[in-house]
Chain length 178, copies 2
DNA sequence: GGTTTCAAGTGAAACGGTATCGGGTGAGCC
DNA sequence: GGCTCACCCGATACCGTTTCACTTGAAACC
């Protein structure tokens, strides 16, 4: 099996003048220090998000929920009953992903889909008392982990980071609302 | 203090025809403002990374490469020929993912696998002149986009954000170098 | 009343991660 | 000194998750 591997079309014939030292090849691009690369911020955000997600996911594991579920639950707590369309916008996820998550939440009794009076096509998702309990427990479980995440930063720097990230993420000034 | 994180802009008055009052269901958990939740930082990082990735990915699209490829190319430019094992550590990805990316890069002639003299099992990945060209072009293409990303921040705040993120992401102080 | 637009749901394809396998090296043992 | 064993690196196979294109039903608009 495994015959679908593409043929090794690696000509490698584009090597004039013999062996080119690695340094000379990337002369222009390498002149820029890593910090000033336009991609540095994105790479940094990727790394930072990975670290935060790892720690938070670990904190949530004993509760039987995952981050994607919890992101939706938090929105439900903050905004009350929310139409799935707004859930998509609030979490940045895809429609299908939100639907899958709401399915899981409904199956576990942490949230329910309710018909919206005015619009029969829309479905409002609302958290259940059990879901609110779980959110509360998750907050308690995650708090020490969250503090550990920023323990090595100076005083006030965590808040500063959060403030900068908020302004970076929502350039229109509105914030996650809406 | 600028317009901070809107702590509790709970949409009490904004009732878009479907908002059912959450009532006492989420009484305890909802008491916490969003900014003080242990998950706030992680959610913020997710959103920020999503925004940066969207813009950068869009900038890279005309060049025919994706972010995961480019992350490897950048490491190759900065460090020269690199064993795949170190590539995994530098990018934070997995072995399998790095292998797939290197496969793509090799197929496109942007990088080549070379045998390491001392260790016959290891394979060093080196960028080709064509790959270096592409990195250079990508830098040029992405620079205005990167500036646009932080255009609404105050002077020096982008650097401050980068510095905080670096310290957050690498608590051991080492930085991405390994 | 017909058309256009929007929300929710569904199925297929792609991406990312984990577990496993084969090749290779070096250290310890016979 | 040759051999075996434990570890390392790269590659492959498999699985879960995410993402994209399509369908259905309902509301707005002309």
């Amino acid at each position: 099996m495994a015959a679908d591997v593409p043929p090794d079309t690696t000509p490698a014939g584009t090597t004039p003048a013999g062996t080119v030292p690695a340094g000379a090849v990337a002369a222009r691009a390498a002149d820029r220090p890593a910090g000033s690369s336009p991609f540095a911020l994105g790479l940094l955000l990727r790394q930072a998000h990975w670290r935060a997600a790892s720690v938070m996911s670990e904190a949530l594991r004993p509760l039987g929920v995952e981050l994607r579920h919890f992101a939706v639950l938090i929105v439900l707590v903050e905004r009350g009953a929310t139409v799935q369309r707004d859930l998509v916008a609030a979490t940045g996820s895809d429609k299908a992903g939100i639907m899958r998550v709401v399915d899981d939440l409904e199956r576990r009794g942490l949230a329910v889909r309710k018909a919206v009076p005015g619009d029969r096509r829309a479905r409002a998702v609302e958290i259940t008392p059990r879901g609110a309990e779980l959110v509360d427990a998750a907050h308690a479980a995650a708090e020490p982990q969250a503090e550990h995440l920023v323990a090595h930063l100076g005083p006030g720097e965590a808040e500063q980071l959060g403030e900068l990230l908020t302004r970076f993420s929502y350039p229109d000034g509105g914030g996650p609302e809406g």
